[in-house]
Symmetry: C2
Subunit: 211 residues, 2 copies
DNA sequence: GTCTATATGGGGATAGAC
DNA sequence: GTCTATCCCCATATAGAC
């Protein structure tokens, strides 16, 4: 993301000092390479400092990871909430869901190294780190469940749809996109529309007309 | 899976000798703990041998991993192919898709430590290992694409559905289930039906009647 | 706030006895 | 086929100079 000034040694970005600079480069590295392969030495090198210096800002590697995981959920939660809140009052269920899906996918694929790092490494980190990230995860999940339950109560969603199960399926499907998304084959927004088309109406040929 | 005779020391299964025994325990450990956290020492301990002995059967840790990844795809590929082939001639598109989805999810959640290990660790292994697994993956993907394209040619699926993209979405969604599936909340088969319901017909309330 | 130097532990892999 | 013993490397983390 940050361009490297042309005179710099390879593999070392310009100094990104301070706690936030370290988090930024660490999030990018975790996103790209996964949890285990990213060492403090590599984070330090990418930030333009030495490994020992990291301990002035953080108490442990896991402390860095927890900060990144939490920030990743915070970003996507805020984006999704904003996107839905910004819709005109009285928007239909399909419109609301499309907006929420698009916001989630944008944060994951376009915006945020923190969100994508979260999705990428959550399954790889030690249990204590996962536990530390749980509260913010639960809050985001609750936001989705509230949204979906509201739509179901309005009659926009099938009455027999299990909200929790559908939310797990939907978020799981969206997050899995990270593994194969290629911006050269289409934008995140275009992908959002395809997801929405499929989840809202399915893939079968319709005999009767439908929204 | 294998019961431990009651007199055995903790953390050590009964001897599972030979190459296949090592692969079995390694697949289970990779499934449970991910790639990086499973060491040769732990595999050896679980197999009831010492770490050095593994090198009689395998040239490296990566050789073990490649064997497990390949076997994981082979199992799910075979199961899916069998399930579809076993259907009565002239089965409808919805029936065929339901059978394929069910077979995939069964292999992943009920059957095979190899398949679930593949899904769990593929994103964590070194590039050379991923590359080695690519041919069998491509073959499985081709099986799905052929199935879906055939259904689309028959008019069972929407004509504007991008097959490759849908296949990535579907397999990604099914595989993501591994992260949250809890057999106490319902069987893999029940989950398959929910997936099929959603992907085939969507989640919106239908105004007109539909299959 | 960052450096150098180092303690400590664990990993994959190899050699040779049995 | 499995063992013990060991090499070598790299990880996190700490201590103290600057």
């Amino acid at each position: 993301m940050a361009e490297v000034p042309s005179g710099q040694p390879q593999g070392q970005s310009r100094q990104k000092v301070g706690r936030d600079g370290i988090l930024d480069v660490a999030a990018r590295l975790f996103r790209e390479h996964g949890y285990a392969h990213v060492t403090l030495r590599k984070i330090a090198q990418a930030a333009g400092i030495k490994a020992g210096s990291i301990y002035y800002h953080f108490g442990s590697k896991d402390e860095i990871v927890v900060a990144i995981l939490d920030a990743g959920i915070a970003v996507v939660h805020e984006q999704m909430h904003q996107a839905v809140s910004a819709l005109p009052a009285g928007s239909g269920g399909a419109t609301i869901l499309r907006a929420a899906i698009r916001a989630h996918l944008r944060a994951l694929l376009d915006f945020s190294d923190y969100t994508s790092a979260n999705v990428r490494i959550f399954g790889q980190v030690p249990q204590v780190v996962r536990d530390a990230n749980l509260p913010v995860r639960r809050a985001y999940e609750a936001e989705w469940d509230a949204l979906l339950s509201g739509l179901q109560a309005q009659g926009a969603l099938r009455a027999d749809l299990d909200i929790r199960r559908f939310r797990l399926m939907l978020i799981g499907a969206l997050n899995a996109t990270l593994e194969w998304f290629d911006p050269d084959r289409g934008s995140a927004d275009a992908l959002s529309d395809t997801y929405a088309d499929i989840f809202l109406d399915g893939i079968l040929t319709r005999t009767g007309g439908q929204t």
